[in-house]
């Protein structure tokens, strides 16, 4: 049981929460995630990246977007409420060293997991260029925090409501064309965005690390539900990752697998709607 000690709505459906979790705060490193359940018996286990941690306060920060039932319910938790199940930190930490110049690309909510990595990279002495992208101005998160770290910050929106009207791949390509080219790129965001970032950097041979958010059940290597093709190998994201070489990841298969239960979840909500409608009718 972990107490919610702070909650903030970052945009229409994006929330930030600080949770009491002293052990995780002490052990976690950049790139790792937690899994939580909103109900111990019937809740599903959802993975969320640790966006930040405060060892003194004994807390971790998560940032999440409402995408399904669990995140919708999670958003209803108030300060003082307890999360029934929280486990972590899971996954391998990001390998941090002074690589030289690193481009950090965050798409939408992906800026949250990117932030601690960019922070650690900066601390290790890297020249950090950050690209943040979102559909529109309202969906840009952590701009101030990223600005504080980055040597160079580029903001893009799809609709041009803020920063450059472009997809993140546009400035990424320009940066790859610079001389000298960056030593490395890290892209975190929706799978399609990571796929195109990887395709953008590939011709320039700029090593690109991506952080995958597959379906997970246990998060400890026991089920294989999180598996992805990386090069010729099958990897388990929860124990071998979550970070992999973006040039080797089979994004198309990963995206298909993310949709494994799409139809089921959809059916379920529809059937709930039907149930509601039937109930209303009965009441009348």
């Amino acid at each position: 049981m972990n107490k919610v000690i702070y909650k903030e709505q970052l945009s229409e459906d994006v929330f930030l929460m600080r949770l009491e979790a002293p052990l995780i705060a002490e052990e976690r490193e950049a790139g790792q995630f937690i899994m939580l359940q909103i109900d111990e018996d019937f809740g599903e286990r959802i993975p969320l990246t640790i966006a930040d941690a405060d060892e003194k306060e004994g807390s971790i920060t998560i940032i999440f977007q409402i995408v399904g039932k669990s995140t919708k319910e999670l958003a209803k938790f108030k300060v003082g409420d307890f999360i029934p199940t929280l486990v972590g930190p899971l996954g391998k930490p990001t390998h941090i060293e002074n690589f030289g110049t690193v481009v950090c690309i965050g798409g939408g909510i992906g800026v949250a997991p990117l932030h601690p990595i960019a922070q650690a990279l900066k601390k290790a002495g890297n020249h950090v260029i950050t690209i943040i992208g979102a559909r529109n101005k309202d969906l840009i998160i952590l701009e101030k925090e990223m600005d504080a770290i980055a040597d160079e910050l580029i903001i893009c929106t799809d609709d041009g409501s803020y920063g450059r009207k472009a997809l993140v791949t546009e400035p990424l390509k320009e940066i790859c064309e610079r001389d000298p080219k960056p030593n490395m790129a890290i892209a975190i965001g929706p799978p399609v965005m990571m796929k195109f970032c990887s395709e953008t950097t590939k011709p320039y041979k700029v090593f690109t690390q991506v952080s995958l958010n597959t379906i997970m059940v246990d998060g400890t290597g026991m089920c294989g539900g999180c598996r992805v093709n990386v090069g010729d190998e099958v990897k388990f994201v929860c124990v071998d990752g979550p970070e992999f070489d973006g040039h080797k990841v089979d994004f198309d298969n990963m995206i298909t697998r993310l949709g494994s239960y799409k139809k089921i979840e959809h059916d379920k909500s529809e059937c709930n709607l039907e149930k509601e409608a039937a109930k209303k009718e009965a009441e009348l």
Binding site: L23, I24, E27, Q37, V87, M222, G224, V228, D250, T256
Partner: protein, 499 residues
């Protein structure tokens, strides 16, 4: 064997018992003549649609009759072949005499989880294989049903509502950590706690029990039974930390160095399900049996109206493999609404590692067995979902290293099987989390922790046992290792206390 209703079985048991009781003394010949008692089961047609336990358990009359079949051998071979050395003739005699409490007390002297072992132990390859009666009647099926008797008295005790809580000695001030709450961990916790040491179990999941919770389904081992065993431990004062992944939440060695534990037992079980390595294995609709069963059991996806964790809606399911896990996955798929479930196995029924009983039950429920077949690739639809499987036929050749005849592919025998779901159940590697984060810990090439005959690992004060040492094994072997580890830990601690 055809299905007999529980009523019919009970009726003949009562009649037989009355007959037998007429005799003053039972000679071995008379005992051997008592019919072996069949386990009453739920009707196969009905049970394939529910999750309730398949086997109902012996009645008191059946238990007594079955117990009377035991010859009380002087050199009871059954004891030698029991991994924890239960006094089998001893407890069986008490059942025959109607002293059920005494019977369970005898079992509990050596075994901690009789309700569980009685249900899931492979007795047919252990105690019952050695049983004189079975050998005499030249039919292993007719050996004394030791497991069913064990289960009977354990259930009897639970039904009385006052399960004996083992005595705990005065506090010693020593504390030990148990990592993982499968059978190995639970046994260590109990045995070490009895000596008065402080015990904390650390479990990665939100629920305790290990494979007994997330793997073995409700219809074979009801959760209530696992819960009850855990309650007993808690009543003994064992502490529990769920949602705690040792290696991640805390490094293994930090439990000793930072948190002051005097010893640690690692019972983290098998892990990393293996896949076939054939094309199409990452299509939507291909799952490891572990994933499928975890969704259904631990995450309760069978309760579709309440659970948030979804489970794939399947019509035609192929299960790859021939072990207990494969049987459980197949039977679970059926219960979750699949229309047709086929087990695809490279060898023949004789080589299947699954327990006979599971195979029989699966057949009764309508599971199809495709022997001497193996998939070559899995074929998907345009949107990446399983639609069929291309298989090859096999024949048996010479015996291989495991002593089983090696399957040889028949060239050009490819054929297509229509399926929408493939459950892969061909074994597990070892859980890498602890070894990844504990470089000093010695592991073999399969990643299993290497221990000496006292279950000690290469790191001082760290012990290990169960599947993480043995590779995927059994509940009773895990328990046996747990007992040995607990004895060694207790010795370490008492030496330290004396020093």
């Amino acid at each position: 064997m055809s299905y007999h209703s529980p009523e019919k079985i009970q009726k003949s048991a009562v009649e037989n018992l009355n007959e037998v009781k007429k005799k003053e003394v039972l000679k071995p010949k008379d005992r051997m003549a008592i019919p072996a008692q069949e386990m009453p089961n739920q009707d196969p047609v009905q049970r394939a649609k529910n999750l309730e336990e398949v086997s109902i358990g012996y009645s008191a009359e059946q238990a007594q009759l079955e117990a009377m079949r035991c010859l009380q051998c002087k050199k009871a071979k059954c004891i030698n072949d029991c991994p924890v050395g239960i006094d089998i003739p001893g407890f069986i005699k008490e059942i025959a005499d109607g002293n059920f409490q005494e019977a369970i007390n005898i079992i509990k002297n050596t075994s901690l989880l009789p309700a569980i072992c009685g249900r899931v132990c492979p007795q047919e390859t252990q105690c019952q294989m050695a049983c004189t009666v079975g050998i005499g009647l030249k039919d292993i099926e007719k050996a004394v049903a030791i497991g069913r008797l064990e289960r009977f008295v354990a259930d009897w005790e639970r039904a009385t509502g006052n399960v004996r809580i083992p005595q705990v000695k005065a506090a010693t001030g020593k504390k030990i950590a148990v990592v993982g709450s499968g059978p190995a961990g639970l046994v260590v916790a109990a045995d070490v706690r009895r000596e008065g040491h402080d015990v904390t179990i650390f479990e990665a999941f939100h629920k305790l029990g290990g494979v007994m919770r997330y793997g073995i389904p409700e219809f074979r081992l009801p959760n209530d039974i696992v819960d009850e065993e855990i309650e007993t431990l808690k009543k003994m004062g064992v502490k529990v930390e769920t949602n705690f992944v040792v290696g991640r939440t805390r490094k293994l060695v930090d439990l000793i160095n930072k948190d002051g534990y005097d010893a640690v037992f690692v019972g983290t079980g098998a892990g990393l399900p293996m896949f076939m390595g054939i094309p199409g294995e990452n299509l939507v609709g291909v799952f490891s049996a572990n994933e499928y069963l975890t969704r259904a059991n631990l995450m309760r996806a069978f309760d579709k109206d309440h659970a948030d964790t979804p489970i794939y809606a399947s019509k035609k399911v192929a299960v790859l493999g021939g072990g207990n896990v494969a049987m459980d996955a197949a039977r679970m798929a059926l219960r979750l609404g699949a229309e047709k479930v086929s087990v695809v196995y490279r060898r023949t029924e004789k080589e299947m590692p699954a327990r006979n009983e599971e195979i029989e039950h699966a057949k009764e429920e309508g599971i199809e067995f495709n022997f001497l077949q193996n998939p070559k690739r899995i074929i998907g639809t345009d949107d990446g979902r399983v639609k069929a499987m291309e298989c090859l036929r096999y024949q048996l050749g010479e015996p291989d290293a495991s002593g089983r005849r090696r399957p040889i592919v028949i060239e050009g025998s490819e054929f297509i099987m229509d399926v929408d779901t493939v459950l892969v159940s061909i074994g597990n590697g070892s859980n890498p989390l602890i070894s990844q984060t504990t470089p000093a810990l010695g592991v073999n090439k399969w990643g299993n922790i290497v221990v000496n005959d006292e279950q000690k690992s290469s790191v001082n004060k760290i012990y290990a046992g169960g599947d993480i040492v043995l590779g995927a094994a059994t509940v009773i072997l895990a328990m046996g290792e747990g007992r040995r580890a607990a004895a060694a830990i207790n010795k370490q601690l008492s030496d330290e206390l004396k020093a």
